[in-house]
């Protein structure tokens, strides 16, 4: 699904990713953990194609295709989805209209007609029920005045609507209470299949109790310094990151 080779990226003069290697196969869940400033969100943004970051070395492949010079919207059309850590507020555009626009743009890119209004409504109803989202919520302006929990739930709702091949959840657990966390995790689990893959970026082990990863990677100073199975997350929760930092320094 996703293959990252020796990826280096910088913003302005600051090098943030310093040689990432990662392979994610269809059907897998990968967790990426690490201390603040280790490059987790940058990695997510680079995969999604944010232009602010400059890739200086290495490649990102999606299903064997090099994503170099691919615009964010084209990556989305190819099946990449990023759940934002801080979803942007867009006053004046409702959640429903936003989703209609996004879905029809994706269809257009694939040479398909707009989705019939009836099918769209059905899809919206189905997916909003999955995320336990109130209908009224869908007519509100995108993310405007949403609580932290509502924003994150709305991100996963969008993921459910767009059905990506590769979903990257960037700190989706931050700002969520336990009920919202359960709803969000439940949504992600229902969307999981043998044909798609999920990368969960998180600080804490908490979310991983609900979305159980096949692999856990620790990112430190722009590199993956340790990989393991889900037990690594537990170990990190217990010992913190300091021992890894020391190990990496050696």
């Amino acid at each position: 699904m996703l293959k990252i080779n020796n990826l280096h990226a910088r913003v302005e003069d600051k090098e943030i990713l310093k040689g990432i290697n990662l392979t994610v196969n269809a059907g897998e869940v990968h967790a990426i953990m690490g201390p603040n400033g280790s490059g987790k969100s940058t990695l997510a943004s680079v995969i999604a194609g944010k232009e602010e970051f400059e890739v200086t070395k290495g490649e990102v492949f999606l299903e064997g295709e090099n994503l170099e010079d691919t615009a964010p919207e084209d990556r989305a059309h190819k099946g990449v989805f990023l759940s934002f850590q801080y979803p942007v507020e867009i006053p004046g555009v409702s959640v429903t209209n936003f989703m209609k626009t996004a879905i029809n743009e994706s269809r257009k890119a694939k040479g398909l007609e707009d989705m019939p209004a009836k099918d769209m409504l059905k899809l919206i109803r189905e997916k909003s029920e999955l995320l336990e989202i109130d209908r009224k919520f869908l007519s509100r302006s995108l993310n405007e005045g949403f609580s932290g929990g509502e924003k994150k739930r709305n991100e996963i709702f969008q993921m459910a609507m767009l059905e990506p091949k590769l979903a990257i959840l960037d700190e989706t657990d931050s700002g969520l209470d336990i009920d919202a966390l359960r709803i969000v995790a439940n949504g992600v689990n229902k969307l999981k299949s043998k044909d798609n893959a999920v990368i969960v970026i998180t600080h804490y082990q908490r979310l991983l109790e609900y979305i159980v990863p096949d692999y856990v990677h620790v990112l430190h100073n722009g590199k993956i310094v340790k990989s393991g199975d889900k037990d690594l997350a537990l170990e990190l929760e217990e010992k913190g990151y300091d021992w890894l930092k020391q190990e990496a320094a050696v």
Binding site: A71, E73, V88, V93, N97, T101, A102, A109, S141
Partner: protein, 438 residues
């Protein structure tokens, strides 16, 4: 002969066509003297620093259209809010078109200024209201007053609400190579009366048109007036809109100005709060490109305590377009507990577009809440990336963000069909392919 001389000398000819014994004519005569003394405003005046009338003054405008023009409704239907039933006061090249209009005297008066100025039954009202709130100092207002003869006259008595919204539309047919229009409107809402008005100026050819309009609005106690100005004209049409609003206690007047096109557009919007618990709202969306110029000058004069004013103007300027926003708020010493809010946000789409924005607050009372803010910026890159990451191409994402930026001003539009229309106009202007119906 320059335009000023031409106008001053035309006044004699104008007098041949009106009743000079009418007391209104004394007002006109006084006004032409004022215009003659002051002339057109120049860039040396602070209020006209960024808007020049020089090129307009070089054009040889016809002051009295010679030919009569007829328009077929089907040819101009799209300029009306035809989705709903409305009263219509329509002028073609400055002349009233009874064929395109639908006026009424049934409980309310929706008719013509020429009737109001000439018929004895309106004399009392004209004596009380005509030229009473309009500036006596502003030279363009004086110019309009001097030639005041035709326009819309709307009188809504106490506790009355007209059955439907009122459209005031001025068409210019291009029968004249260059035409000067000076409509004069008088709008009165008595106690507890309510009304909705849509005003539009539309040139139908690329011949030059210059409109210098004056509108006086009087809102008595607890009256509500919603006024929508749709300015989406040709790039050879210029408009100076001078609107003066007098508000008594508890009244609410909301003016929305949609400036989507024109060669030069200047809006002088003036509110005078002559009562307590008055609410004055000004909203504006400006979207222009090419070499178009739009200038919003607003004034709110808080003269009584416990009043509110809200201003929210959004602007998007492309190519070589230029914009001006100057928002003046005066809070007199007696006007305690005033709540005055002013906001002007702008997006410059091109490197060559400019906006000059200035809040101008003169506050003499100490217990007031006044806030103002203006921003000039480009589109938010993070928001752009967010939309792109959902599969919306960059061009569409930019358009969608601009659309979102502008269209939240529309929330307060209270005629749903008009709201849809304006929404579509904004979408078309920004070339946004809305993946949804409005």
């Amino acid at each position: 002969m320059d335009l000023k001389e031409k106008l001053v000398s035309s006044f004699l000819a104008f007098e041949n066509g009106v009743d000079v014994d009418n007391p209104v004519h004394d007002i006109r005569s006084e006004a032409i003297k004022k215009f003659e003394a002051k002339g057109f405003p120049t860039k040396k005046e602070e209020a006209w620093k960024y808007t020049s009338l020089n090129t307009l003054q070089k054009i040889d405008f016809s002051i009295f259209p010679k030919k009569e023009s007829n328009l077929e409704y089907r040819d101009v239907k799209k300029y009306f809010l035809h989705e709903i039933d409305t009263f219509k006061i329509v002028f073609v090249d400055g002349v009233y078109s009874s064929f395109l209009s639908e006026t009424t005297h049934d409980g309310v008066d929706v008719c013509l200024m020429s009737s109001a100025l000439n018929k004895p039954m309106y004399k009392q009202i004209i004596d009380v209201y005509f030229n009473k709130i309009a500036s006596q100092e502003d030279s363009l207002t004086s110019l309009n007053t001097a030639f005041s003869k035709e326009g819309a006259y709307i009188y809504i008595p106490k506790n009355k609400i007209p059955k439907k919204p009122i459209e005031i539309i001025h068409f210019a047919t291009g029968n004249e190579a260059a035409l000067l229009l000076q409509p004069r409107n008088l709008i009165i809402a008595e106690e507890n009366a309510e009304m909705q008005i849509i005003e539009r100026h539309q040139s139908l050819t690329s011949n030059e048109v210059f409109t210098n309009s004056v509108t006086e609005i009087f809102a008595a106690k607890n009256a509500i007036v919603d006024y929508y100005k749709v300015q989406n004209d040709c790039t050879t049409a210029s408009l100076i809109d001078n609107t003066y609003i007098d508000q008594k206690g508890g009244s609410a007047v909301n003016v929305h100005t949609f400036s989507f096109g024109g060669k030069l557009t200047r809006n002088n919007l003036n509110f005078y709060q002559n009562g307590e618990h008055v609410d004055s709202t000004m909203k504006g969306v400006t979207i222009i490109e090419g070499k178009q110029h739009v200038d919003h000058h607003t004034l709110v004069h808080h003269i009584e305590p416990n009043c509110e004013s809200h201003q929210d103007y959004k602007g998007i300027y492309g190519e070589n377009a230029t914009g001006v926003f100057n928002g003046k708020i005066i809070v007199e010493k007696i006007a305690q507990k005033t709540n005055a809010f002013q906001q002007n946000n702008n997006i410059l789409v091109s490197d060559k577009a400019t906006i000059n924005t200035k809040p101008q607050l003169e506050i003499f009372a100490d217990d007031v809440k006044c806030s103002h803010g203006c921003t000039i910026g480009q589109l938010d890159e993070e928001a752009l990336f967010y939309l792109q990451s959902r599969g919306i191409p960059k061009k569409e994402a930019r358009a969608l963000l601009m659309y979102a930026f502008a269209n939240n001003v529309l929330e307060s539009v209270r005629i749903p069909e008009l709201k849809v229309r304006i929404n579509k106009l904004i979408a078309n202007k920004l070339e946004v392919r809305l993946g949804f119906d409005l």
